[in-house]
């Protein structure tokens, strides 16, 4: 409803102080505490002192008077009294009863039934996952019943106008109650010029000043869309629900329920359900068809792992924690059994192995017939691709867990000796080394004669090729994740639960995105999206320019593996043992391949074949 109430300019605009606990109104209502406030009104929990022997709780809604114009004030009081009288005559289990109203010090008060429960927004915020469909359907049916009661009110239908999660409570019996009733209509001071209705849930026709039962149906659909997708429409452009199809975000929702909600959200009021009764019947029919309200729904099973074609697997003697590379038709992968293995990429046949004296956690690098690999034996080993013979070794003063990077004829690799080592790749001699505040597990990024890397001390460094520090950024916790570069921004994760975007020239933080846990996964990018795994079990897709979450996908354990993009999918392992293939635009699961141990390394994909190592000691080759 468009309202243009002009607030008196000379009146004070600041909110008056809230009522303190212990205050008594009308010698009857003892204020116990504030339940919530918004705009010019507050709701308090109170006790009715007319019942001295029992504790009768009430909700006291206070509307602070801010108009100084007498005529305006009288109009508001008249409207208020009329609305309170109307509400007092309503009788429906989902509508709170009105006990009393009064005016004190020019403020208006309404005394209502106290509802012990939570509003739907709080319910949503407190749950970690999507709410079950059958729960949402049963609430929707109750809401339909309530709205049907209002819309059939005589002599005139009552339109609620403001259905949204914060106006819907779930009481301690699990039933829904509509709150903030009607009053909103008569007491919305200061709705100035451009702000109209509750952005996000209001139907398009409300912007033309029409309020009808069909508008309540739209707002109910918008509310259901919000709670099923967990996407708040107030953060999205108006009427953009169709751009966020429910099942793309939450595939657990049945197509039938999605179709019903889409109908309620039709732009044209005539194409929605003709009444809330009709909507309720559609919901009931769906619930009966899918058996939702009768038996609990079992988790949907997608493509099973065994439908993904495994080309071959190869078993080593210990866990494989690192990531393979493909070079000259060979798979090269380090293993915690101290060996670097070379396997035939087509058949998985063993070709050779090279023994270091420590576990291998990193990824090898290769150039000009030589393979480079760091080991926990403190050394970087250079080994011939043919036969796996040692070419040279380079000693650091701590275990090497970082992966070597080749650039400009040099190898860049971090070590637990708190240095980044830069080594001539032909002869294994040190060119220079850069000091850090702690062990370097992150893999360096080399770009435009600069090298960028993170450190376990929580620092992030940029050195130039002369070994001079260009800039340093202090992060709260370890940066094990390796940086990537896209359009002048460096992206990496940290154990402080954050994905960072730093500008490359000076290390200015352009944005950061907080995840649900620490991360050591290295991000990857495609189509303006940054993908990263996280210790909170999720794989995230974040918009590179807006810093907004596009989707997240929950695996069953931590994700330390780094995602890889291939065609239109992302591939990522999880400590739950699964290798996941997701549609990178929507985050929907395409398939999952199960291994027998945690996957901590990352896949590599060449010619539609994916190679991945697992802590079950095996290397797998899968046809994507």
């Amino acid at each position: 409803m468009i309202r243009r109430t002009t607030r008196a300019l000379d009146g004070q605009t600041e909110r008056l102080e809230n009522l303190q606990p212990g205050t008594t109104l009308q010698d009857r209502y003892l204020i116990l505490g504030l339940l919530g406030s918004g705009g010019m009104s507050s709701v308090y929990k109170g006790r009715d002192l007319h019942f001295p022997n029992v504790t009768k709780l009430v909700a006291v809604k206070e509307m602070t008077n801010i108009v100084s114009d007498q005529t305006m004030y009288e109009m508001i009081v008249t409207n208020f009294e009329r609305e309170a009288d109307l509400l007092a005559t309503l009788s429906h289990p989902a509508i709170p009863r009105i006990y009393d109203y009064f005016i004190s010090k020019k403020n208006l008060y309404l005394v209502m039934e106290f509802i012990d429960g939570k509003d739907l927004e709080a319910v949503l915020q407190e749950s970690d996952d999507f709410l079950p469909e059958e729960q949402v359907i049963s609430w929707a049916i109750e809401l339909c019943d309530t709205l049907t009661y209002l819309h059939n009110h005589k002599p005139e239908p009552l339109v609620f106008r403001d259905i949204k999660p914060t106006n819907i409570m779930v009481d301690h019996h699990g039933h829904i109650r509509l709150i903030d009733f009607g009053i909103a209509r008569i007491f919305q001071p200061g709705q100035k010029g451009t702000m109209i209705g509750t952005e996000g849930y209001s139907p398009p026709e409300q912007y033309r000043g029409e309020a009808s039962p069909a508008g309540d149906i739209y707002a109910l659909g918008a509310t259901l869309h919000h709670i099923l997708t967990r996407r708040d429409p107030r953060l999205e452009p108006p009427f953009s629900f169709t751009e966020r199809p429910i099942r793309e975000i939450n595939p657990n929702v049945s197509p039938e329920l999605e179709a019903i909600i889409n109908t309620t959200l039709d732009y044209d009021p005539k194409k929605r359900y003709p009444s809330t009764d009709a909507l309720k019947n559609a919901l009931l029919a769906t619930a009966n068809e899918t058996g939702l309200l009768i038996k609990p729904r079992t988790a949907e099973i997608f493509v099973r792992g065994d439908e993904i074609q495994e080309l071959w697997s190869f078993e080593c003697e210990d866990e494989i924690r690192g990531t393979p590379i493909v070079y000259q038709g060979m798979i090269l992968i380090g293993c915690y059994d101290h060996n670097l293995y070379a396997l035939d990429a087509k058949t998985g046949e063993f070709m050779w192995k090279y023994a270091t004296e420590g576990g291998i956690t990193g990824r090898p690098a290769a150039e000009d017939g030589v393979i480079f690999i760091g080991s926990e034996d403190y050394r970087l080993h250079a080994v011939t691709a043919r036969g796996g013979k040692l070419a040279w070794m380079y000693y650091t003063e701590g275990p090497i867990r970082s992966s070597p990077i080749l650039s400009h004829g040099h190898i860049f690799v971090g070590s637990d000796d708190n240095h980044l080592h830069v080594i001539n790749s032909l002869n294994g001699r040190r060119a220079w080394r850069a000091e850090a505040m702690g062990p370097i597990w992150s893999t360096p990024l080399v770009k435009d004669e600069r090298v960028f890397f993170g450190c376990e001390s929580g620092d992030f460094y940029c050195y130039d090729f002369r070994g001079e520090l260009k800039w340093r950024k202090k992060i709260k916790r370890a940066v094990t994740s390796s940086p990537i570069l896209l359009d002048g921004l460096l992206y990496f994760g940290s154990k402080d639960w954050t994905l960072y975007a730093l500008e490359i020239e000076n290390g200015w933080q352009v944005w950061r995105y907080r995840m649900g846990g620490p991360t050591i996964s290295t991000p990857t990018a495609a189509e303006d999206k940054i993908f990263i795994g996280c210790g909170d079990n999720h794989i995230y897709a974040i918009h590179a320019r807006h810093a907004r979450e596009i989707w997240r996908y929950a695996t069953e354990h931590q994700v330390t593996s780094s995602p890889v993009v291939y065609v239109d999918s992302i591939y990522c392992g999880s400590v739950d043992g699964g290798l996941y293939c997701l549609d990178f635009r929507t985050g929907r699961l395409r398939w999952r391949f199960r291994t027998e141990g945690p996957i901590t390394g990352s896949p590599v994909i060449v010619d539609n074949t994916l190679f991945i190592g697992s802590n079950d000691h095996k290397v797998y080759a899968l046809l994507t």
Partner: protein
């Protein structure tokens, strides 16, 4: 000290805005226009700005602000620029006060969070990310307008340039265009109801252009406690322009004509003067504001 004063004057020099009406509408002599600085072989950005009340309105509710920091040397500060355009609305001078307050508040927050920190000899480690700074600045502007200007509201488009990255914070229907290689891209999304209905295919572009509610915004500064700010980062283009403008320009002068004027003017200031002149020549139905930043080729 004298140097410092000169430096501060230098970077704040563009704060002085011609009072509306006194804008030269004839193209300026190129010799009067300031060229790009040559900073050890790298050219600086060049900025132009112009504003006009227009023909039909009797007062000006738009506000613009430009601040550029150029630095050269071995330990030079990163390139810095802050560009703001706000288009106020509301009766009784509320619109002009809302746009002025929002620009002042935003400029205060963003200079404090960025360039003033760069002047510190011992920079603190706790700098906020640019996205957070911009969001906070616009939220602060929103609070200021809500508290001080009942009945007023404003659009606000803020572009912050730091060292190779442009970040834009945006609320309302002023626009930021990036114009590169003869093509323009609108970086911002209009938060107007009519634009939304047009996006949904419910209105044709022609219907939208003449819709009676085309000035109704669904998001603006000063319209309530919760403000959702659009923020987008973009790398600085290799040559090309950033144009910030109010709807008094983009709603009146077609995009292709805007591009033609920019490319034929030769200098951002001459281009801005000509853009304002073109909007007035087309009837000048609303206040007109244009800020044009020219980027040197890398």
């Amino acid at each position: 000290m004298d140097f410092l004063n000169r430096f501060i004057k230098r970077i704040f020099r563009r704060e002085e805005i011609h009072p509306p009406g006194s804008i030269k509408t004839a193209p300026l002599e190129p010799s009067h226009l300031e060229p790009a600085w040559d900073l050890d072989g790298q050219q600086s950005i060049v900025v132009g700005a112009a504003q006009s009340t227009g023909i039909e309105r009797d007062h000006n509710e738009d506000t613009l602000f430009v601040l550029v920091g150029n630095s050269a040397g071995q330990e030079a500060l990163p390139e810095f620029g802050l560009f703001l355009v706000a288009d106020g609305m509301g009766g009784h001078r509320a619109g002009e006060i809302a746009s002025a307050i929002s620009v002042r508040t935003t400029a205060h927050c963003l200079t404090e969070g960025t360039i003033l920190r760069l002047f510190e000899n011992e920079p603190k480690e706790d700098a906020l990310p640019i996205h957070d700074l911009i969001r906070q600045a616009l939220e602060e502007a929103n609070r200021s307008v809500v508290a001080r200007v009942p009945g007023g509201g404003t659009t606000l488009t803020a572009a912050l340039l730091i060292s190779g990255q442009l970040t834009i914070g945006h609320v309302g229907d002023s626009r930021a265009y990036l114009i590169v290689d003869g093509k323009s891209e609108i970086l911002t999304r209009d938060h107007s109801l009519v634009e939304r209905l047009r996006e949904l295919g419910q209105l044709t572009p022609e219907e939208a252009a003449s819709h009676p509610q085309r000035n109704v915004l669904y998001r603006a500064i000063g319209q309530g406690a919760n403000l959702e700010v659009d923020i987008i980062s973009h790398p600085v283009p290799d040559g090309g322009y950033l144009l910030l403008c109010s709807d008094g320009l983009w709603g009146v002068v077609p995009d292709h004509e805007i591009r033609r004027i920019i490319y034929s003017s030769g200098h951002p200031q001459a281009a801005c003067d000509e853009l304002v002149r073109a909007a007035n020549a087309a009837g000048g139905p609303d206040n007109i504001t244009a800020v044009l930043v020219g980027f040197p080729p890398k």
